[in-house]
Point group: C2
């Protein structure tokens, strides 16, 4: 099984879903629709949404409709977070996914509203497109918790406040866990719920998601030091320039790699009770660390 | 029955609910919590949330838990929209509800994130605090539709694009319906659902909400021409300054007042089949037009 090929397959599936959901939503304002299409159709890696789909498969053996919608929803939320993160008042980035950021391609007001629209739309599709209200509500709860003021937004807030400070190990873990790992945890949780996981499976996959999410963010820090803008699809070296609190800046490169490797091993070990249906999840942690963008 | 006294009672109830919900949510980032408290505790009129509660009472005779949560949720969404609307890249306003706007009291990044957090939190509480998943999902659907890219955000987008243009009657109605009236419709819909309305009651209250929402926004346009900053709690004359497309600018003051009066009468007429439990809803349309802020 080739990880990148499997990821590409899921990315195509998610892209088709996003396109279809947007097209069938007739009432969207025309100017807004342009910005939404622009940002949603940019070549994102779709890692979080693939994680939803793979966790559903690991539990149920197939991609259920609930997972398809949940994958689209988490991708909308992730995309909104990038749009707002790139704004001049936030990270002030000009490129994302190899293209001008939303506020560069359009303007700041459009970018603010496009982000707001995607966040709202994510919850709308979870409430509209899923037949069983009990499943729908659980998915919404997971997504809101992962993305909200005790999750991703908390991480973004702390990240901004930590600029120009050396930071501590504790602060760094707080930022990375909230900003990134909780969305990975949320993705895994949503996949587990969509697949009809029992409590044990659900908790294991949540834990797995949290670990690979943290590993992913550490890898991102490392890439920002080592990578080039062309590979990243965004401006490299931004973190150092902004004097951000990162793993390499606190632990150094070697120790950072050791930590991410340890997280990957622990994540794989969690999957012992899952059968071959979870093989792709066993590959995922190392694949995320070895990526070059 | 004194409308203002009844509104104040509901406002206190909503304020207590918001305070409680925020306090019991333990995981919220500390810096973010400050901004959330600042914006949620500012003296808002709480009209949308009162509408939720009154529609629930009109149908069921009492304020149910579902309506209490829905009222808090719509107030969070309304507050988020004000925070983002006031940003420099949007309406660039320094005062709101008689206090410095969020980005003035804190900074732009905090304001962007506080808005994002409130929007997410609104869906989180609807998914967490309501016992019946079927009711929870319906409320989430209504709120997302009202606030999203085919609702409030569409109106904000069109409003910004319409700046510096004379506008047409059609465009103006599109903006006001989306930016304001759909949230009033959503509030009425949520109240109806919380109260256990039948299809006929639900549809009537939705229509009522849409009409008073449009009237409310026309009154807002008129107030902006006639009112003073001290009464408005925000900077008056902003619309004319930004050459915004408003009812007075297209129809003149007299005709605008005639239109809002007509909407109020139609809204009241819709309530014929409701008993005395809907008396406050009968007072509401005129009270909204006669307000001085």
């Amino acid at each position: 099984m080739n990880f990148q090929r499997e990821l590409n397959k899921k990315a195509s599936f998610v892209n088709r879903t996003l396109k279809k959901l947007l097209a069938q939503h007739k009432g969207i304002d025309t100017d807004l629709r342009k910005a939404l299409r622009y940002t949603l159709e940019a070549p994102g890696k779709r890692i979080r949404s693939a994680l939803v789909l793979w966790c559903c498969e690991a539990v149920s053996g197939k991609v259920k409709k609930e997972a398809q919608i949940a994958a689209a929803a988490i991708e909308m939320v992730h995309t909104y977070s990038l749009i707002h993160d790139d704004l001049p008042a936030m990270d002030n980035d000009d490129f994302r996914r190899g293209l001008p950021t939303c506020h560069k391609a359009f303007d700041e007001a459009t970018a603010i509203l496009a982000g707001d629209a995607l966040l709202t739309l994510a919850f709308e599709i979870l409430a509209k497109e899923i037949d069983d209200p009990a499943v729908s509500v659980r998915l919404i709860r997971e997504l809101a918790q992962a993305a909200g003021p005790a999750g991703m937004v908390a991480g973004q807030m702390a990240d901004l406040k930590a600029e120009k400070t050396k930071g501590t190990e504790k602060l760094l873990k707080y930022i990375h866990t909230n900003k990134t790992a909780k969305m990975f945890r949320g993705a895994a949780a949503m996949g587990a719920i969509a697949g009809g996981a029992n409590k044990k499976q659900y908790e294991t996959l949540c834990d797995y998601g949290l670990k690979i999410g943290l590993g992913f963010q550490i890898a991102d820090d490392i890439l920002d030091v080592a990578g080039a803008s062309a590979h990243l699809g965004k401006t490299a070296g931004k973190d150092a320039e902004a004097a951000k609190c990162t793993y390499p800046s606190i632990f150094g490169l070697g120790k950072s790699k050791q930590i991410e490797g340890g997280l990957a091993n622990k994540a794989v070990a969690l999957l012992k009770s899952f059968g071959p249906k979870a093989d792709i999840l066993r590959q995922m942690p190392m694949a995320l660390l070895e990526r070059t963008r």
